[in-house]
């Protein structure tokens, strides 16, 4: 329907253009290489070049790294160690290639070491915090893993607080994040597939899945989509999300994001795929169905009755957040006959003297609320609360006594806002907010009929929506009855023996029956 929004992509136009002149080959001479690399980076101040003469023969070599990106202790120790060890032994081979092997196997005591022979690889490694070791007389370069920049330690995620559950959250460092996942899933079939995204930023993006559990077609599709990413910078996983999502015209999030390793690993064992991006604590989970956005890890951590209750509460919250203001408008402005009599009279009484129709009143209040919310996020925390009090209490009270809005409207808007905050997924909360305005417009034209039509329209849209080939409305439609155990009711854990059928996992069985049944 919205085909006129489609743009044509310009094909194959290179985005990166190299300005400086330098040779793209690696020379045998250390000196030449240093010069070449200096040229390439235009001798920046944080580029450190440490020359060494090894052994009695004084074989030239040089460590090159970028200050601040490397673990300084490690590099210092490395240099010291190299000098010491090479000077101590007398059996240093003369052939540069053998020196390299000697260095790699006996001298350099580090975790990660590899040989490369292209300038591209070298520059990428240096730029990502590794140290390059050039040795005179050879065109092979040793790359020593020495990443170690300043970063946040593992903390409790702020955006997804839970009462019960692990207190750790993902951090910006992708290596820490992969470790966090590994720590939860110790399955040899856990696969990490890393690729670089961003023409200029060249960030690591890692696709994580469990082979034999995730549907291989979905995994392939994720890989394909990640491979199509062609931006110069990918600052946050949100960029990845927007690039790989199915329908950019939809208000609904088609990729789930989380800061919680437990949530991510739970998704993994459900047969979904995780995408990690270096530099952000938010990891992406695909595919996603609508109901996933209303689930919280706590549903599973607490016992099933509590989980079920919470879940029903959340469905109610989504319903209220979407419908309440529009239904209020429809009933008050169009069909007051559907309000219980006494309530109708008292609403009419409180609205007496309010100069605006209910729609305008509702829009006004909703706008105020959105502003308050936005302002509250920007301000430092202590002041943020003040805004809440001033905005919520003072303005609300004043508006009512000034007769601009009716008290019931204030109640309606507040309940809607609270319901919206109760949704566990932030992005889904925003979709509901957008659609709420859509519903309000529809109800201001046709009343209840408009609300119903708008609801049908949303349903049509959702029924057409897919996330990585998985229909967005599963397991309602297509209907997977066995998944209903984890839908309105969160069934007791011992009963949920199958993985969600809706993700069409390669391995359908999740667990044994236990001996409770």
């Amino acid at each position: 329907m919205f085909s006129f929004f489609k743009w044509k992509k310009e094909k194959n136009k290179p985005l990166t253009k190299q300005e400086d002149e330098f040779a793209i080959t690696i020379f045998a001479s250390v000196e030449d290489n240093i010069k070449n690399i200096k040229n390439m980076f235009d001798s920046p101040s944080d580029l450190v070049i440490r020359r060494l003469s090894l052994g009695s023969r004084g074989h030239e070599c040089a460590f090159i790294y970028i200050d601040g990106l490397v673990n300084e202790n490690l590099v210092n120790g490395l240099i010291k160690n190299t000098q010491f060890k090479m000077n101590q032994t007398n059996t240093i081979p003369t052939d540069p290639r053998e020196i390299l092997v000697h260095l790699e196997q006996e001298v350099l005591s580090v975790q990660e070491i590899k040989k490369v022979s292209t300038l591209d690889d070298i520059s990428l490694s240096i730029l990502s915090g590794d140290t390059a070791l050039f040795v005179e007389g050879t065109q092979t370069v040793l790359i020593i893993g020495s990443k170690g920049w300043e970063g946040r330690s593992v903390e409790e995620p702020i955006t997804e607080a839970l009462v019960r559950g692990p207190r750790e959250g993902f951090v910006e460092n992708i290596r820490t994040n992969t470790a966090l996942i590994r720590r939860h899933v110790r399955d040899p079939n856990l696969r990490f597939e890393t690729c670089k995204v961003g023409r200029r930023s060249k960030k690591d993006a890692t696709i994580v899945y469990i082979k034999g559990v995730s549907n291989h077609e979905i995994v392939e599709e994720v890989k394909r989509r990640i491979a199509t990413i062609d931006m110069d910078d990918v600052p946050e996983s949100g960029f990845v999300e927007q690039w790989i999502e199915d329908n950019f015209l939809s208000p609904f999030p088609q990729v789930q994001s989380t800061e919680r390793p437990d949530k991510a690993t739970a998704a993994l064992v459900q047969g979904r795929v995780i995408i990690l991006l270096d530099g952000t604590p938010f990891v992406l989970i695909v595919p996603v169905a609508l109901i996933n956005l209303l689930q919280s890890p706590e549903d599973y951590y607490e016992r099933w009755m509590i989980g079920t209750l919470l879940r029903i509460l959340r469905y109610t919250a989504a319903f209220v957040g979407l419908f309440l203001p529009s239904i209020y408008i429809a009933l008050v402005s169009f069909q007051p006959g559907m309000i219980p009599s006494k309530l109708a009279f008292s609403i009419a009484g409180t609205r007496e003297g309010v100069p605006f129709p209910a729609v305008i009143e509702a829009l006004m209040m909703e706008m105020t609320l959105e502003l308050l919310r936005e302002a509250g996020i920007r301000l430092p925390k202590p002041i943020g609360q003040t805004i809440g009090i001033v905005g919520g209490l003072v303005i609300g009270q004043a508006a009512v006594s000034a007769g601009i809005v009716s008290p019931i409207m204030v109640i309606v808007v507040s309940i809607t806002a609270i319901a919206n905050f109760a949704l566990p997924t932030y992005s889904f909360g925003i979709s509901i907010r957008i659609l709420r305005f859509f519903m309000m417009l529809a109800s201001s034209i046709f009343g209840l009929y408009g609300v119903i039509l708008a609801y049908i329209v949303i349903n049509i849209h959702v029924a057409n929506l897919k996330s990585f080939g998985v229909p967005y409305t599963t397991p309602f439609s297509p209907l997977f009855l066995s998944d209903w155990k984890d839908l309105l009711v969160r069934a007791p854990l011992t009963m949920m023996n199958k993985r969600p059928e809706m993700f069409k996992t390669d391995d359908p069985i999740r667990q044994g029956k236990g001996d409770q049944s």
């Binding site: 169009f334 007051p336 009599s341 006494k342 109708a344 009279f345 009419a348 009484g349 409180t350 201001s444």
Partner: protein, 409 residues
């Protein structure tokens, strides 16, 4: 192609700009909660109209219709103020507007010119028709508007007023703000006191009228501060004319005969004083022996369950024979009461309001087809049939004390 799509997308926005045809804010509506229908006090209106426009079509009858409209501001205000200083007399929660015309719909339209609010009927609670109107048999004509309009609800309560219907809506109940809602809840409660026919909803009334059954509607008599709903008006099946009233006793008897008693009490004479039996449950069962059109013998079996609520005599209720004896007495009382009602209904009014015709229709359909047209009209087989009543009472408990408080035996 794309342009067409753009146009289709844009159409909803036009709706929004031109739309909102039906948007009427809730405070702009005139909620009609009660309607009273009377005959006009004088024929002046009709004469004027004839003078004004002699050729204008006119209905056979004219009515004076009173609409009770809610004044919402005053519905809520009182709760806040408590001892409102500024003239609480003016802050009535409703106002009554009377208009006279030959079409009820026209009266409604006319009302909007007088009150700045358009009438809105979704919250209509009661319709009160004066006995004057009821006796002419115009009930179906009067009620047509209230059944036809989609704004109306079939749950609206029907009442017949002794005297002018308008006065019923004029009462000022001390505890409720809206007289109409007061009437509605009073009628609900009195039903539980067995003194009244179960509430007649307008939808049910349509059923009576269409199925050609005689029916009863609760009667209400107004006074200054409150209304009394007691007794019922009895209507004949054919012409929908009101025949007269059943008094409270007879109403209760009729309720027993229909098996519709939901509560209430019976006073039984024991020794020289009374014991009160509280009815908890009641059901009836009809049997018929048909030996010809003129010779139908109905047996109505009434079953009731209840408690002893009050005893003014010193009795030992734990005595083994006491309760069966009391049960017999209650049965006797029921028989007395129902027999009174049957006499009145069958002999005086000759209108079947105890559902015997319905029973025949349901259980002796072929026979019913033969007598249908002469059941409580024409030949009036109803008045000729024999009706027996049997009662079966069970007293379930006697309360939490045994003897009455006075010790003298």
């Amino acid at each position: 192609m794309r342009r067409v799509w753009k146009i289709i997308v844009v159409i909803p926005f036009f709706f929004w700009m031109t739309g909102c045809w039906d948007r009427v804010e809730i405070e702009e509506r005139g909620f009609v909660v009660g309607v009273a229908i009377d005959k006009p006090l004088s024929a002046k209106g009709k004469e004027e109209l004839t003078k004004e426009a002699p050729n204008k079509p006119q209905a056979k009858n004219r009515y004076a219709v009173t609409y009770q409209i809610v004044v919402p501001a005053n519905v809520t205000k009182e709760g806040v103020g408590g001892g409102g200083s500024g003239g609480s007399g003016k802050g009535k929660a409703s106002m009554n507007i009377t208009s006279e015309a030959d079409s009820i719909f026209e009266i409604g339209r006319e009302m909007s010119t007088r009150t700045s609010r358009t009438p809105y009927f979704e919250h209509l609670k009661v319709i009160v028709v004066s006995e004057e109107v009821a006796k002419t048999g115009e009930l179906p004509t009067v009620l047509d508007f209230f059944l036809r309009n989609p704004e109306m609800r079939r749950g609206t309560v029907m009442l017949i007023s002794k005297g002018r219907a308008k006065d019923v809506l004029e009462v000022e109940p001390p505890n409720e703000k809206l007289p109409a809602i007061y009437l509605q809840s009073v009628s609900r409660n009195t039903f539980k006191a067995a003194r009244m026919e179960p509430i007649v909803r307008i939808g049910k009334l349509q059923g009576f009228m269409l199925s050609k059954q005689s029916y009863v509607i609760s009667a209400v008599s107004p006074s200054e501060k409150e209304v009394k709903i007691a007794g019922e008006a009895i209507f004949h099946s054919v012409d929908n004319k009101m025949l007269g009233y059943l008094n409270e006793e007879e109403t209760e008897g009729q309720n027993f005969l229909r098996g519709k008693v939901k509560g209430g009490l019976l006073k039984i004479p024991v020794k020289d004083n009374l014991v009160t039996y509280e009815i908890k449950r009641e059901a009836k069962n009809i049997k018929a022996q048909i030996q010809g059109k003129d010779n139908i013998h109905f047996t109505i079996q009434i079953k009731s369950e209840g408690n002893i609520a009050e005893s003014m005599v010193h009795l030992d209720f734990l005595q083994p024979n006491r309760i069966p004896n009391l049960e017999r007495l209650v049965e006797k009382e029921i028989l007395r009461m129902t027999q009174d009602s049957i006499n009145k209904i069958q002999k005086d009014y000759k209108a079947d309001v105890i559902g015997l015709g319905e029973y025949l229709e349901n259980h002796h359909h072929d026979f019913w087809l033969k007598v249908k047209d002469n059941w409580d009209q024409g030949e009036n087989y109803f008045s000729k049939c024999k009706i027996d009543v049997e009662a079966d009472v069970r007293i379930r408990n006697v309360g939490i004390i045994d003897h009455a408080a006075n010790q003298k035996e």
